[in-house]
């Protein structure tokens, strides 16, 4: 017997968020609320030097006077910043432990996340730093990297071990005063990753951080700082998940990339935070500031696959400061049910002969809203700057929205800026064609969506591309009918 459309729809609706489990590990959590005392307490808990504490306090004072931004095309209940706990560490975690010493329940959790460390070690040549709630739990491959002089460790450790490096670069790309969430992050960030690639070194493996919010009522404020010294190369991956919860969890990260002369950084993100249930309850608020600075001949590529979060506010950007530097932004943003995403990039052309490419693929289903917001700015000194932007939207059904907000500010006459935009719908004739070849509707949509996203998927490292494809499929389940 065949499924009726109704039956099919119903079955699909009951498919749940795959990573929606909660691991019961004992954790050490601060009381809720935010104050200067809490900020100082976090710093103390982490044994930070005085300059770090002062930096946080200064950020906190700035944040206190700031207002939450409202210009994005998203609507949500503003988080109550006094109802969040700003520090939560799995109690048994100790970054200095060997893998064998790690809490078996934690290891079990990694397994559920599909990132069994052993497997990673053997198969993927990926060094992983895992941040659960607010603390880095395990870093693999440290030794191999150390031989090349590469530093890859939790930022809290880096503050202890390489204070001068961290101090020199932190906040130079995203200053504490940059925006509301960046200021908040600067005050209360609890962990994240630090990565330094020495001059002329090509990092031999993908570096990866896996973030997960586990504890209820906590916020995650991680801070990532990647410094690629002259002529070096690194590819960095970041993946995120969170358990399903009714309340909204807050995630406000800051990522700073520094690509010095002739250096190249590839930064890939697969973001799969809990998107809320199909009525729009719960889900992660993902308010992220990501920015890169490119010196002479440097290149930075941001690639992101955003399928999760209830609300996303995120604009990975490039400041093309050095002559001949290159900025790239490849993005797939999927929204389903009641998800809202306002994402895009800023390409700031300061140097001569700077080039930027923006490829954005927005896929909206259900009652979701998906906005692309992008700024291409060419300063008066930036002779011969080039930009190419392409924003494609794919709509599924009649209740979702796709919006494009391209801003162009060119102060140099030699600038060449191209912008292309398309909006399409998945046609019934396409679905029927696939059906006729034996491909059911769910799979057909996945196929069509993958085809639509191909230019961006191709930019991801192999292992990640496969995962991202699966993720696209999962996120759009239940959007048929």
């Amino acid at each position: 017997m065949a499924y009726t459309e109704q039956e099919l729809k119903k079955e699909l609706e009951t498919k749940e968020y795959e990573y929606g489990f909660y691991t019961d590990i004992e954790s050490d959590t601060f009381p809720i609320g935010l104050s200067e005392e809490i900020v100082i307490a976090i710093s103390k808990k982490k044994n930070e030097p005085k300059w770090m504490t002062d930096w946080r306090v200064e950020a906190y004072r700035v944040w206190e006077k700031m207002k939450e931004p409202e210009w994005a095309n998203v609507r949500y209940q503003k988080p109550d910043f006094q109802a969040i706990s700003y520090y939560s560490a799995p109690k048994k975690a100790d970054p200095n432990k060997k893998l064998e010493d790690v809490d078996p329940e934690l290891l079990e959790m990694y397994k559920k996340l599909g990132i069994s460390i052993d497997e990673q070690k053997k198969l993927q040549n990926v060094a992983v730093d895992i941040v659960v709630d607010s603390v880095s739990v395990a870093t693999t491959f440290k030794k191999t990297l150390a031989e090349k002089g590469i530093i890859f460790m939790p930022i809290s450790e880096a503050i202890q071990e390489y204070p001068e490096l961290v101090r020199k670069y932190m906040g130079t790309v995203v200053p504490t005063t940059d925006n509301f969430y960046a200021a908040l992050n600067s005050a209360v960030f609890t962990d994240g990753s630090f990565c330094y690639i020495p001059k002329g070194v090509r990092c031999p493996m993908e570096l990866s951080t896996y973030f997960r919010i586990n504890q209820a009522g906590t916020g995650q404020f991680e801070r990532t700082l990647v410094v690629a010294d002259e002529g070096s190369y690194v590819s960095y991956l970041e993946g995120c998940t969170a358990p399903s919860r009714d309340e909204n969890q807050l995630h406000a990260a800051v990522v700073e990339l520094i690509a010095m002369d002739d250096a190249e950084i590839k930064y890939s993100t697969v973001q799969n935070w809990f998107p809320g249930n199909k009525e729009g309850k719960g889900g992660v608020y993902n308010f992220v500031t990501k920015r890169a600075i490119c010196e002479k001949n440097a290149k930075v590529s941001w690639t992101q696959v955003e399928t999760g979060s209830a609300v996303t506010w995120k604009y990975p950007s490039c400041i093309l400061k050095g002559d001949n530097s290159i900025g790239e932004f490849y993005s797939i943003a999927v929204t389903n049910n009641y998800q809202q995403a306002d994402t895009g990039t800023k390409m700031i052309h300061l140097g001569k002969n700077t080039r930027s490419t923006i490829i954005s693929k927005g896929i909206s289903a259900g009652k979701s809203q998906n906005s692309y917001r992008g700024l291409v700015q060419v300063s008066s000194r930036a002779d011969n700057a080039r930009n190419f932007s392409q924003c494609d939207s794919l709509l599924m059904g009649n209740e979702c929205g796709a919006h494009t907000f391209p801003y162009i500010e060119a102060k140099n006459k030699s600038a060449m800026i191209e912008h292309e935009a398309t909006t399409s719908k998945i046609g019934e004739d396409q679905i029927f064609y696939c059906n006729q070849r034996g491909i059911d509707t769910e799979k057909a949509i996945a196929l069509i969506v993958n085809g639509f996203s191909k230019e961006v998927l191709n930019k991801l490292p192999m292992e990640f591309a496969v995962e991202a494809q699966k993720l696209l499929e999962i996120s759009l389940e239940g959007s048929v009918g």
Binding site: A2, Q430, F432, Q436
Partner: protein
């Protein structure tokens, strides 16, 4: 193999098929001809399970079993193949990837594991040679930017890959140049066996010189108004449809 009984179908309340009766046995080739808008493509779509059309009366049987409740993909899994009059473009999905998915989805439905990559490759090589298709072509996005003739040849390539029990070719000949027509028709003939059947929808006698039908039917105004052997096709080529229309009006 295929039995259609008093089939009525409509779209948006408008009747298009008005009582089709047709029986196609294993090993047979049937041709369906008829003027534009008579309902040929609609019949093909309804057999394939397109839900745009509402079946208001009658039934379709495949190997004696009613397929009324079968979804389009289930019909495909049961060996129904439709070569579309207007093949659809799917940007970013290569012909190879599309075929791989189609084959493995059908296998999955039958409880068979995915076809090993080695076998898939061999199959692709074999079938693309049969239809004289350049391998480079197979990495292109499905039907995107294909010429009219290329689309049709690609439909038959897919048919060759899927080896259906019942193949319905809806105007596969239109758009093909003379050489391509021969290649495609040869391909279809090579795939023919005593266990499968082919229904060709065409406007032209030429195709039927290559793919010789056992029966020819004329569809007019949603009904099969005349059936005969291949001579009927010749007669139509000569005389057009007016005499059929007059006969039907009586």
């Amino acid at each position: 193999m295929l039995k259609i009984k008093d089939l009525h179908a409509s779209v948006e309340g408008k009747g298009i098929l008005k009582g089709i009766n047709l029986e196609v046995g294993a090993g047979e080739v049937h041709a369906i001809m008829g003027p534009n808008g008579s309902g040929k493509s609609t019949l093909a779509s309804v057999i394939a399970g397109n839900e745009t059309y509402e079946v208001t009366a009658g039934d379709i049987f495949l190997d004696g079993e009613s397929i009324e409740d079968f979804s389009p993909e289930e019909r495909a899994h049961n060996g129904v193949f439709l070569s579309f009059q207007y093949p659809v473009e799917i940007p970013g999905v290569s012909v190879t990837n599309f075929m791989k998915t189609a084959i493995n989805e059908s296998r999955k439905a039958k409880g068979i594991e995915d076809m090993p990559a080695k076998d898939m490759l061999k199959l692709i090589r074999e079938k693309s040679e049969l239809l004289e298709i350049d391998r480079k072509f197979l990495s292109r996005s499905l039907n995107e930017g294909f010429s009219g003739g290329e689309k049709k040849r690609n439909e038959i390539f897919q048919m060759a890959m899927l080896e259906p029990k019942l193949a319905i070719l809806d105007e596969t000949d239109s758009g093909l140049d003379i050489d391509a027509l021969r290649i495609v028709a040869n391909g279809v003939n090579k795939l023919k066996s005593k266990d499968n059947a082919v229904v060709v929808i065409t406007h032209y006698q030429r195709l039927l010189e290559y793919i010789v039908p056992d029966f020819v039917h004329v569809l007019y105004n949603g009904k099969i108004v005349k059936s005969g052997t291949k001579e009927l096709a010749m007669e139509l080529e000569e005389k057009g449809y007016d005499w059929i229309k007059q006969e039907a009006a009586v």
